[in-house]
Protein backbone atom coordinates (compact mmCIF):
# COMPACT_ATOMS: atom_id res chain seq x y z
CA UNK A 1 0.00 0.00 0.00
CA UNK A 2 2.81 2.32 0.95
CA UNK A 3 4.60 1.52 -2.29
CA UNK A 4 1.46 2.25 -4.33
CA UNK A 5 1.09 5.57 -2.57
CA UNK A 6 4.70 6.45 -3.32
CA UNK A 7 4.26 5.49 -6.97
CA UNK A 8 1.16 7.68 -7.22
CA UNK A 9 2.94 10.59 -5.58
CA UNK A 10 5.87 10.18 -7.97
CA UNK A 11 3.52 10.10 -10.97
CA UNK A 12 1.63 13.15 -9.75
CA UNK A 13 4.89 15.00 -9.25
CA UNK A 14 6.01 14.02 -12.75
CA UNK A 15 2.79 15.18 -14.33
CA UNK A 16 2.83 18.42 -12.38
CA UNK A 17 6.29 18.99 -13.78
CA UNK A 18 4.98 18.29 -17.30
CA UNK A 19 2.13 20.78 -16.88
CA UNK A 20 4.52 23.34 -15.42
CA UNK A 21 6.89 22.76 -18.34
CA UNK A 22 4.04 23.11 -20.84
CA UNK A 23 3.09 26.46 -19.37
CA UNK A 24 6.66 27.58 -19.26
CA UNK A 25 7.47 26.58 -22.84
CA UNK A 26 8.84 29.75 -24.27
CA UNK A 27 6.92 30.98 -27.27
CA UNK A 28 10.13 30.99 -29.30
CA UNK A 29 10.32 27.26 -28.77
CA UNK A 30 6.85 27.00 -30.26
CA UNK A 31 7.85 29.22 -33.17
CA UNK A 32 6.16 32.15 -31.56
CA UNK A 33 8.39 34.51 -29.67
CA UNK A 34 5.94 37.41 -29.81
CA UNK A 35 3.57 36.21 -27.11
CA UNK A 36 6.28 36.32 -24.48
CA UNK A 37 5.70 40.04 -24.09
CA UNK A 38 2.12 39.87 -22.89
CA UNK A 39 1.95 41.27 -19.37
CA UNK A 40 5.64 42.16 -19.43
CA UNK A 41 7.07 45.66 -19.63
CA UNK A 42 7.01 46.83 -23.25
CA UNK A 43 10.56 46.87 -24.60
CA UNK A 44 11.63 50.48 -24.59
CA UNK A 45 12.91 52.16 -27.72
CA UNK A 46 14.09 55.55 -28.85
CA UNK A 47 13.43 56.07 -32.54
CA UNK A 48 13.56 58.97 -34.95
CA UNK A 49 10.34 60.54 -36.13
CA UNK A 50 9.94 61.58 -39.76
CA UNK A 51 10.95 65.13 -38.84
CA UNK A 52 14.14 63.98 -37.15
CA UNK A 53 13.09 64.19 -33.50
CA UNK A 54 13.58 61.28 -31.14
CA UNK A 55 10.62 59.64 -29.45
CA UNK A 56 11.13 57.31 -26.52
CA UNK A 57 8.38 54.87 -25.67
CA UNK A 58 9.00 55.16 -21.93
CA UNK A 59 8.36 58.92 -22.16
CA UNK A 60 4.72 58.03 -22.86
CA UNK A 61 4.30 56.36 -19.46
CA UNK A 62 0.88 57.22 -18.04
CA UNK A 63 -0.75 56.97 -21.46
CA UNK A 64 -2.16 53.91 -23.17
CA UNK A 65 -0.01 53.36 -26.24
CA UNK A 66 -0.88 51.62 -29.48
CA UNK A 67 2.37 50.66 -31.22
CA UNK A 68 1.60 49.82 -34.84
CA UNK A 69 4.40 48.23 -36.86
CA UNK A 70 3.75 48.72 -40.57
CA UNK A 71 5.38 49.28 -43.96
CA UNK A 72 4.47 51.07 -47.16
CA UNK A 73 4.62 47.78 -49.11
CA UNK A 74 2.10 46.11 -46.81
CA UNK A 75 -1.39 46.20 -48.33
CA UNK A 76 -3.21 45.08 -45.14
CA UNK A 77 -1.43 47.90 -43.25
CA UNK A 78 -3.02 50.35 -45.65
CA UNK A 79 -6.44 48.93 -44.81
CA UNK A 80 -6.10 49.27 -41.06
CA UNK A 81 -4.41 52.68 -40.99
CA UNK A 82 -7.71 54.63 -41.25
CA UNK A 83 -9.03 52.63 -38.27
CA UNK A 84 -5.98 53.62 -36.25
CA UNK A 85 -6.38 57.26 -37.26
CA UNK A 86 -10.00 57.03 -36.05
CA UNK A 87 -8.95 55.44 -32.76
CA UNK A 88 -6.47 58.25 -32.12
CA UNK A 89 -9.22 60.77 -32.75
CA UNK A 90 -11.76 58.92 -30.64
CA UNK A 91 -9.64 57.93 -27.65
CA UNK A 92 -6.82 60.49 -27.71
CA UNK A 93 -8.68 62.59 -25.16
CA UNK A 94 -8.86 59.63 -22.80
CA UNK A 95 -5.13 59.10 -22.89
CA UNK A 96 -4.45 57.02 -26.00
CA UNK A 97 -1.29 57.73 -27.93
CA UNK A 98 -0.77 55.92 -31.21
CA UNK A 99 2.77 55.42 -32.43
CA UNK A 100 3.40 54.13 -35.95
CA UNK A 101 6.69 52.35 -36.52
CA UNK A 102 7.58 52.01 -40.19
CA UNK A 103 9.72 48.98 -40.97
CA UNK A 104 10.58 50.17 -44.47
CA UNK A 105 14.20 50.28 -45.54
CA UNK A 106 16.14 53.28 -44.38
CA UNK A 107 16.39 54.48 -47.98
CA UNK A 108 12.62 54.68 -48.34
CA UNK A 109 12.08 57.72 -46.10
CA UNK A 110 10.41 59.74 -48.86
CA UNK A 111 7.95 56.91 -49.55
CA UNK A 112 7.17 56.68 -45.85
CA UNK A 113 6.55 60.44 -45.66
CA UNK A 114 4.32 60.30 -48.72
CA UNK A 115 2.37 57.34 -47.37
CA UNK A 116 1.93 59.01 -43.96
CA UNK A 117 0.62 62.15 -45.62
CA UNK A 118 -1.71 60.31 -47.98
CA UNK A 119 -3.11 58.22 -45.13
CA UNK A 120 -3.57 61.30 -42.89
CA UNK A 121 -1.63 59.70 -40.04
CA UNK A 122 -2.38 61.92 -37.05
CA UNK A 123 0.27 60.40 -34.81
CA UNK A 124 4.07 60.17 -34.68
CA UNK A 125 5.58 57.95 -37.35
CA UNK A 126 8.93 56.49 -36.39
CA UNK A 127 11.60 54.80 -38.49
CA UNK A 128 11.89 51.29 -37.09
CA UNK A 129 15.09 49.34 -36.77
CA UNK A 130 15.85 45.64 -36.86
CA UNK A 131 16.82 45.75 -33.17
CA UNK A 132 13.47 47.18 -32.16
CA UNK A 133 11.72 44.63 -34.37
CA UNK A 134 13.68 41.87 -32.68
CA UNK A 135 12.79 43.15 -29.23
CA UNK A 136 9.14 42.81 -30.24
CA UNK A 137 9.52 39.19 -31.25
CA UNK A 138 11.12 39.59 -34.66
CA UNK A 139 8.03 40.90 -36.46
CA UNK A 140 7.75 37.99 -38.84
CA UNK A 141 4.96 39.79 -40.66
CA UNK A 142 3.16 43.11 -40.80
CA UNK A 143 0.96 44.64 -39.60
CA UNK A 144 1.72 43.78 -35.99
CA UNK A 145 0.28 45.96 -33.27
CA UNK A 146 1.08 46.03 -29.56
CA UNK A 147 -0.99 47.70 -26.89
CA UNK A 148 0.79 49.11 -23.88
CA UNK A 149 -1.00 50.03 -20.67
CA UNK A 150 -0.49 53.21 -18.72
CA UNK A 151 1.91 51.28 -16.49
CA UNK A 152 4.16 50.45 -19.45
CA UNK A 153 3.20 46.78 -19.60
CA UNK A 154 2.01 45.04 -22.74
CA UNK A 155 -1.73 44.44 -22.50
CA UNK A 156 -2.36 42.89 -25.89
CA UNK A 157 -1.41 42.57 -29.50
CA UNK A 158 -3.03 42.10 -32.84
CA UNK A 159 -1.17 40.01 -35.40
CA UNK A 160 -1.94 40.71 -39.02
CA UNK A 161 -5.10 42.41 -40.17
CA UNK A 162 -8.11 41.75 -38.00
CA UNK A 163 -11.18 43.88 -37.48
CA UNK A 164 -11.39 47.43 -36.19
CA UNK A 165 -13.28 45.95 -33.24
CA UNK A 166 -10.24 43.91 -32.15
CA UNK A 167 -8.15 47.05 -32.17
CA UNK A 168 -10.73 49.01 -30.23
CA UNK A 169 -11.17 46.29 -27.59
CA UNK A 170 -7.43 46.29 -27.03
CA UNK A 171 -7.34 50.07 -26.82
CA UNK A 172 -10.05 50.02 -24.14
CA UNK A 173 -8.13 47.39 -22.21
CA UNK A 174 -4.95 49.46 -22.33
CA UNK A 175 -6.83 52.60 -21.30
CA UNK A 176 -8.32 50.76 -18.31
CA UNK A 177 -4.89 50.15 -16.79
CA UNK A 178 -3.46 52.34 -14.08
CA UNK A 179 -0.01 53.76 -13.85
CA UNK A 180 1.10 52.39 -10.49
CA UNK A 181 4.26 54.51 -10.40
CA UNK A 182 2.28 57.73 -10.71
CA UNK A 183 -0.18 56.62 -8.04
CA UNK A 184 2.63 55.74 -5.65
CA UNK A 185 4.27 59.08 -6.29
CA UNK A 186 0.99 60.90 -5.63
CA UNK A 187 0.57 59.16 -2.30
Amino acid sequence: MKRTFLVLVAILAGVSLMIFAAKKIKPSEANNSIGALRGAPAPDFALKTLDGKTLKLSDLRGKAVLVNFWATWCAPCKIETPWIVDLQNQYGGQGLQVVGVSMDDESDTEDVKKFATEMHMNYPVLRGTEDVGNSYGGLEFLPTTYFVGRDGNVTGRVLGLKGRGDMEDNVKKALATKDSTTQTAQK
Partner: protein, 198 residues
Protein backbone atom coordinates in the same frame (compact mmCIF):
# COMPACT_ATOMS: atom_id res chain seq x y z
CA UNK B 1 -5.49 -13.61 -2.08
CA UNK B 2 -2.66 -11.31 -1.13
CA UNK B 3 -1.22 -11.69 -4.64
CA UNK B 4 -4.62 -10.81 -6.17
CA UNK B 5 -4.90 -7.70 -4.00
CA UNK B 6 -1.37 -6.67 -4.90
CA UNK B 7 -2.12 -7.11 -8.61
CA UNK B 8 -5.31 -5.11 -8.34
CA UNK B 9 -3.49 -2.34 -6.52
CA UNK B 10 -0.77 -2.26 -9.17
CA UNK B 11 -3.31 -2.30 -11.99
CA UNK B 12 -5.12 0.64 -10.43
CA UNK B 13 -1.84 2.47 -9.96
CA UNK B 14 -0.83 1.88 -13.58
CA UNK B 15 -4.26 3.01 -14.83
CA UNK B 16 -4.10 6.11 -12.67
CA UNK B 17 -0.61 6.79 -13.92
CA UNK B 18 -1.68 6.47 -17.55
CA UNK B 19 -4.63 8.76 -16.93
CA UNK B 20 -2.52 11.41 -15.30
CA UNK B 21 0.16 11.20 -18.01
CA UNK B 22 -2.57 11.61 -20.63
CA UNK B 23 -3.77 14.70 -18.77
CA UNK B 24 -0.26 16.08 -18.74
CA UNK B 25 0.18 15.49 -22.45
CA UNK B 26 -3.19 17.07 -23.16
CA UNK B 27 -2.09 20.15 -21.24
CA UNK B 28 1.09 20.38 -23.30
CA UNK B 29 -0.79 19.93 -26.56
CA UNK B 30 -3.29 22.61 -25.54
CA UNK B 31 -0.62 25.14 -24.68
CA UNK B 32 1.16 24.51 -27.96
CA UNK B 33 -2.04 24.71 -30.00
CA UNK B 34 -3.04 28.00 -28.39
CA UNK B 35 0.38 29.39 -29.22
CA UNK B 36 0.12 28.07 -32.77
CA UNK B 37 -3.26 29.76 -33.19
CA UNK B 38 -1.85 33.02 -31.90
CA UNK B 39 0.90 32.79 -34.46
CA UNK B 40 -1.65 32.96 -37.24
CA UNK B 41 -1.54 34.42 -39.87
CA UNK B 42 2.15 33.66 -39.95
CA UNK B 43 2.30 29.99 -40.71
CA UNK B 44 5.42 28.49 -39.27
CA UNK B 45 8.38 29.08 -41.51
CA UNK B 46 6.68 31.92 -43.38
CA UNK B 47 6.14 32.11 -47.10
CA UNK B 48 8.48 30.37 -49.46
CA UNK B 49 9.18 30.78 -53.13
CA UNK B 50 11.34 28.18 -54.80
CA UNK B 51 12.84 27.57 -58.22
CA UNK B 52 11.22 24.34 -59.33
CA UNK B 53 12.66 23.91 -62.80
CA UNK B 54 15.32 25.39 -64.98
CA UNK B 55 15.94 23.49 -68.19
CA UNK B 56 19.45 23.15 -69.54
CA UNK B 57 19.18 24.87 -72.91
CA UNK B 58 21.73 24.41 -75.67
CA UNK B 59 22.50 27.79 -77.16
CA UNK B 60 24.81 28.43 -80.07
CA UNK B 61 27.63 30.87 -79.66
CA UNK B 62 26.67 34.32 -80.80
CA UNK B 63 22.98 33.43 -80.93
CA UNK B 64 20.31 34.56 -78.47
CA UNK B 65 18.42 31.92 -76.54
CA UNK B 66 15.85 31.85 -73.80
CA UNK B 67 15.76 30.04 -70.48
CA UNK B 68 12.40 29.57 -68.77
CA UNK B 69 12.67 29.52 -65.00
CA UNK B 70 9.63 28.10 -63.24
CA UNK B 71 8.99 29.26 -59.68
CA UNK B 72 6.57 27.94 -57.11
CA UNK B 73 4.92 29.96 -54.35
CA UNK B 74 3.83 28.09 -51.24
CA UNK B 75 0.10 27.53 -50.94
CA UNK B 76 -1.81 30.33 -49.20
CA UNK B 77 0.64 33.06 -50.20
CA UNK B 78 0.94 35.44 -53.11
CA UNK B 79 3.64 37.80 -54.27
CA UNK B 80 3.37 41.04 -56.22
CA UNK B 81 3.70 40.70 -59.98
CA UNK B 82 6.47 42.50 -61.84
CA UNK B 83 3.99 45.32 -62.47
CA UNK B 84 2.13 45.84 -59.17
CA UNK B 85 -1.12 47.70 -59.43
CA UNK B 86 -0.53 49.80 -56.32
CA UNK B 87 2.02 52.43 -55.47
CA UNK B 88 4.66 51.36 -52.92
CA UNK B 89 4.22 47.64 -53.68
CA UNK B 90 7.50 45.86 -54.29
CA UNK B 91 7.63 44.23 -57.74
CA UNK B 92 8.91 40.72 -58.23
CA UNK B 93 12.15 41.06 -60.16
CA UNK B 94 14.95 38.77 -61.21
CA UNK B 95 18.43 40.25 -61.13
CA UNK B 96 21.15 38.23 -62.82
CA UNK B 97 24.83 38.63 -62.04
CA UNK B 98 26.82 39.91 -64.97
CA UNK B 99 29.10 37.37 -66.63
CA UNK B 100 32.02 37.82 -68.97
CA UNK B 101 31.08 35.00 -71.35
CA UNK B 102 27.34 35.24 -71.68
CA UNK B 103 25.32 38.40 -72.13
CA UNK B 104 22.09 38.61 -70.16
CA UNK B 105 19.36 40.12 -72.27
CA UNK B 106 15.76 41.00 -71.59
CA UNK B 107 13.93 39.28 -68.77
CA UNK B 108 10.28 38.42 -69.44
CA UNK B 109 7.69 38.30 -66.68
CA UNK B 110 4.17 36.95 -66.91
CA UNK B 111 1.21 39.24 -66.42
CA UNK B 112 -0.06 39.21 -62.87
CA UNK B 113 -3.41 37.77 -61.85
CA UNK B 114 -5.81 40.50 -60.86
CA UNK B 115 -7.12 39.36 -57.49
CA UNK B 116 -9.14 40.95 -54.68
CA UNK B 117 -8.28 39.69 -51.20
CA UNK B 118 -10.30 39.48 -48.00
CA UNK B 119 -8.50 42.47 -46.54
CA UNK B 120 -9.57 44.69 -49.45
CA UNK B 121 -12.48 43.15 -51.34
CA UNK B 122 -12.94 46.25 -53.50
CA UNK B 123 -9.35 46.52 -54.56
CA UNK B 124 -7.67 44.21 -57.05
CA UNK B 125 -3.97 43.60 -56.79
CA UNK B 126 -1.69 42.27 -59.51
CA UNK B 127 -0.07 39.18 -58.06
CA UNK B 128 1.46 35.80 -58.77
CA UNK B 129 0.37 32.70 -56.89
CA UNK B 130 0.96 28.99 -57.43
CA UNK B 131 3.56 28.78 -60.19
CA UNK B 132 4.88 31.36 -62.60
CA UNK B 133 7.60 31.40 -65.24
CA UNK B 134 10.24 34.03 -65.86
CA UNK B 135 12.08 33.99 -69.17
CA UNK B 136 15.71 35.06 -69.36
CA UNK B 137 17.31 35.90 -72.67
CA UNK B 138 20.98 34.97 -72.90
CA UNK B 139 23.54 35.25 -75.70
CA UNK B 140 26.90 33.53 -75.45
CA UNK B 141 29.70 35.54 -77.01
CA UNK B 142 31.26 34.24 -80.24
CA UNK B 143 34.51 33.59 -78.42
CA UNK B 144 33.11 31.38 -75.65
CA UNK B 145 34.43 27.80 -75.65
CA UNK B 146 31.59 25.26 -75.85
CA UNK B 147 30.56 23.80 -72.51
CA UNK B 148 28.30 24.30 -69.54
CA UNK B 149 28.14 27.69 -67.88
CA UNK B 150 26.55 28.51 -64.56
CA UNK B 151 24.41 31.61 -64.33
CA UNK B 152 23.60 33.15 -60.98
CA UNK B 153 21.21 35.77 -59.75
CA UNK B 154 18.42 36.43 -57.27
CA UNK B 155 14.68 36.77 -57.39
CA UNK B 156 13.46 39.62 -55.23
CA UNK B 157 9.90 39.23 -54.02
CA UNK B 158 7.60 40.31 -51.25
CA UNK B 159 4.92 37.90 -50.14
CA UNK B 160 1.61 38.28 -48.36
CA UNK B 161 -1.23 36.06 -47.30
CA UNK B 162 -4.82 37.04 -46.67
CA UNK B 163 -4.05 39.00 -43.52
CA UNK B 164 -0.44 39.99 -43.41
CA UNK B 165 2.65 40.75 -45.44
CA UNK B 166 6.17 39.47 -45.03
CA UNK B 167 9.39 41.41 -45.48
CA UNK B 168 10.97 41.40 -48.93
CA UNK B 169 13.21 38.44 -49.61
CA UNK B 170 15.84 37.42 -52.13
CA UNK B 171 15.81 33.90 -53.50
CA UNK B 172 19.18 32.83 -54.93
CA UNK B 173 18.69 31.59 -58.48
CA UNK B 174 21.13 29.43 -60.35
CA UNK B 175 20.85 27.66 -63.68
CA UNK B 176 23.14 26.35 -66.40
CA UNK B 177 23.45 27.07 -70.08
CA UNK B 178 25.12 24.67 -72.52
CA UNK B 179 27.01 26.65 -75.11
CA UNK B 180 27.46 24.87 -78.43
CA UNK B 181 29.22 25.75 -81.63
CA UNK B 182 27.14 27.66 -84.11
CA UNK B 183 25.78 25.41 -86.87
CA UNK B 184 28.10 25.30 -89.86
CA UNK B 185 27.25 27.93 -92.45
CA UNK B 186 25.80 26.62 -95.73
CA UNK B 187 27.84 26.83 -98.91
CA UNK B 188 25.40 29.17 -100.56
CA UNK B 189 22.90 31.61 -99.23
CA UNK B 190 19.23 30.90 -99.80
CA UNK B 191 17.33 33.24 -102.01
CA UNK B 192 16.30 36.29 -100.05
CA UNK B 193 12.65 36.74 -99.32
CA UNK B 194 11.16 39.75 -101.01
CA UNK B 195 9.69 40.70 -97.58
CA UNK B 196 12.97 40.59 -95.73
CA UNK B 197 14.31 43.85 -94.45
CA UNK B 198 17.98 44.53 -94.68
Amino acid sequence: MATFERMTRWSLAVLAALGVVALGLAAIVKVLSVQAQELSPGKTGGPSVSLVSAPLPSIARGEPGSVDLRFHIASGYHINSNQPSEEFMIPTALHMDATTDIVIGKIYYPDGQSVAFDFAPDQKLSVYSGTFTVGVTVRPLHTVPPGKYAMRGALKYQACDNRACYPPKQLPVEFEVRVIKAPAAHGHRPAQSPHAHT
